[in-house]
């Protein structure tokens, strides 16, 4: 992970993360961005359950393009509030979206058109604060948003970048198509015979994927279908500790700066409490051709 972040996410990059909404959030990648002290990132995502809040609090972020920033089960994002209200640790530019419009902004970039129209957001004051949403002719024209890089966590991938994810996908596909490149982190690194056995499940063209990182637990505390439940208590503790700057810094030391990598981090959490043990496999699809 350290290498992938070092090589493909420079200061100032625009980065799409948390694109499956609450599940599969690439926290390990986010924490590596913090450890490498990235600056001036432009984050793109739908709702970013706590990850954007952490990156903002750590001073990595110049701009957020998102529908929602906070902690889904606990409420407000305290670092996000401090940045917007008091400029702590740094002022933050916010491009407000709705979930639908952030999806359309990425589809527009994916399809190489300047904007896509929608009848959502008519009558909303979001149009006043986001210059990339333009009302004309009875529609809202959502300007394309093209991330430099999309970072996703999935259940399994092969070394060629063929990623399989299942469960709800949120805006993952449009984020990957819109971005110049994709970093994939995965629970299981599998042989290509596994990924190619079900090409419908491959998320992106392999030509988009610039790095594959085998990172078990890389989405904790967010859930990974078939692997991990959501760690509600971890989100609650984060919400409580991040209420103050000092509390947030202590949290950051404990869970980011004082752990060199995700493998060490996973030794610190109670993984068994959240591990999914009752598996339910789908029926295989027959790709036979002769």
């Amino acid at each position: 992970m350290a290498q992938a972040i070092q090589r493909f996410v420079p200061d100032g990059a625009s980065v799409a993360m948390g694109t499956a909404l609450e599940p599969l959030i690439p926290f390990a990648a986010g924490h590596e961005l913090i450890r490498q002290r990235r600056r001036d990132l432009a984050l793109v995502g739908p709702i970013s359950d706590a990850l954007f809040d952490q990156l903002i609090g750590a001073g990595c972020v110049r701009r957020v393009t998102a529908a929602w920033v906070g902690n889904v089960s606990e409420g407000l994002g305290h670092c996000y509030r401090r940045a917007c209200e008091q400029g702590i640790p740094a002022p933050l530019e916010v491009h407000d979206h709705s979930n639908f419009s952030v999806s359309l902004a990425l589809w527009a970039a994916a399809w190489q058109v300047p904007s896509l129209p929608t009848s959502s957001l008519l009558g909303s004051d979001i149009l006043r604060t986001n210059p990339n949403l333009v009302a004309a002719d009875g529609l809202v024209h959502v300007q394309a948003v093209r991330p430099d890089i999309a970072i996703v966590h999935v259940q399994r991938a092969d070394e060629h970048g063929r990623a399989h994810a299942w469960g709800p996908l949120g805006i993952t596909e449009e984020a990957g198509l819109a971005a110049d490149g994709v970093i994939v982190s995965c629970e299981d690194l599998v042989d290509s015979s596994v990924t190619l056995s079900d090409p419908n499940r491959i998320l992106f063209p392999e030509t988009k994927v610039v790095a594959v990182v085998h990172e078990p637990g890389g989405a904790h505390p967010s859930p990974v279908q078939g692997h991990f439940k959501r760690d509600h208590a971890f989100y609650r503790d984060y919400a409580e500790q991040s209420r103050s700057v000092a509390g947030f810094e202590a949290w950051l030391s404990r869970w980011v700066f004082d752990v060199p990598d995700r493998a060490s981090y996973m030794k610190e959490i109670d993984g068994e409490a959240i591990r999914i043990t009752h598996h339910q496999f789908s029926a295989p699809a027959d790709f036979g051709d002769t």
Partner: protein, 255 residues
């Protein structure tokens, strides 16, 4: 609140469920009067049966297992844009007399007093679903004369035909369900009025805790108490009172 919200769901409705209390309301309705309702979740899910375990978010694994459809968000939004979503639930930090919700900024957006998390799917639901309901803790600071920022539009400035004039496809809010009572809107929108008061509270209480001069329906009634079936379902899906207990997280905003 959960039981009252569940009664807004009609049998056969396609419901844009969202998070927190509405997840419970959906579960209660399915187990009581709306066995043929279906739920949509913006994460990219459709379900009929409520999840079998407690959910902290709509994307938790128990909400995925047994789903009718697991897909991308834009597919779910397509159904709503087509007018196929009968009812949506939206949370909010502030609502005003015309049903507009603010989940974005308290104070000037360039230097806000409070930065709230934002729209999530709220604005989309408010504009595109056929009808919607919001749930709110009943406090003067939350039920305000006019919100300073309309994230999710209700009836705008309250003038007749505001939604149609501005091109909003869905019908708008039908109820504001609070911890003290139920506020409703007349056919065609406009201004909210008090329709019923929850047991143990009075019309005077409700008006005193509302930030505008709240109109009261001529036939204002007492909200029917939760039935045994409603209570049982609520306890089953929130056994530890995470969403419904005394320190429940019901006052914030959800995506």
């Amino acid at each position: 609140m959960v039981a009252v919200a569940s009664r807004e769901i009609r049998d056969g409705d396609l419901v844009f469920v969202g998070m927190r209390l509405p997840i419970l309301a959906y579960a209660v309705a399915r187990n009581a009067h709306a066995p043929n309702a279906r739920g949509l979740f913006e994460v990219g899910l459709m379900r009929d049966q409520p999840a079998s375990e407690f959910l902290g978010t709509m994307g938790d694994p128990p909400n995925v297992t047994g789903a009718l459809w697991a897909t991308r968000m834009s597919n779910v939004m397509a159904l709503m844009a087509q007018g196929r979503v009968d009812l949506g639930f939206i949370g909010g930090a502030e609502v005003d007399r015309f049903g507009n919700l603010n989940t974005s900024y308290i104070g000037e957006p360039s230097r806000p007093k409070v930065k709230l998390p934002g729209s999530g799917g709220g604005a989309d639901i408010a504009i595109l679903s056929r009808r919607w309901v919001t749930l709110m803790s009943h406090e003067r600071r939350r039920l305000v004369e006019r919100v300073s920022f309309i994230t999710s539009p209700g009836y705008g400035d309250g003038t007749p035909g505001w939604r149609k004039r501005n091109g909003l496809l869905g019908g708008g809010p039908v109820a504001i369900i609070t911890t003290l009572g139920v506020l409703r809107f007349s056919e065609g929108g406009g201004e909210a009025h008090l329709a019923s008061v929850h047991p143990g509270h009075t019309v005077a209480d409700v008006r005193a805790n509302t930030g505008w001069d709240l109109k009261v329906a001529d036939d204002v009634s007492e909200t029917s108490a939760p039935t045994d079936a409603e209570l049982a379902a609520s306890r089953r899906f929130d056994p530890e009172g995470f969403w419904t207990g005394p320190s429940a997280r019901s006052g914030g905003t959800s995506p």
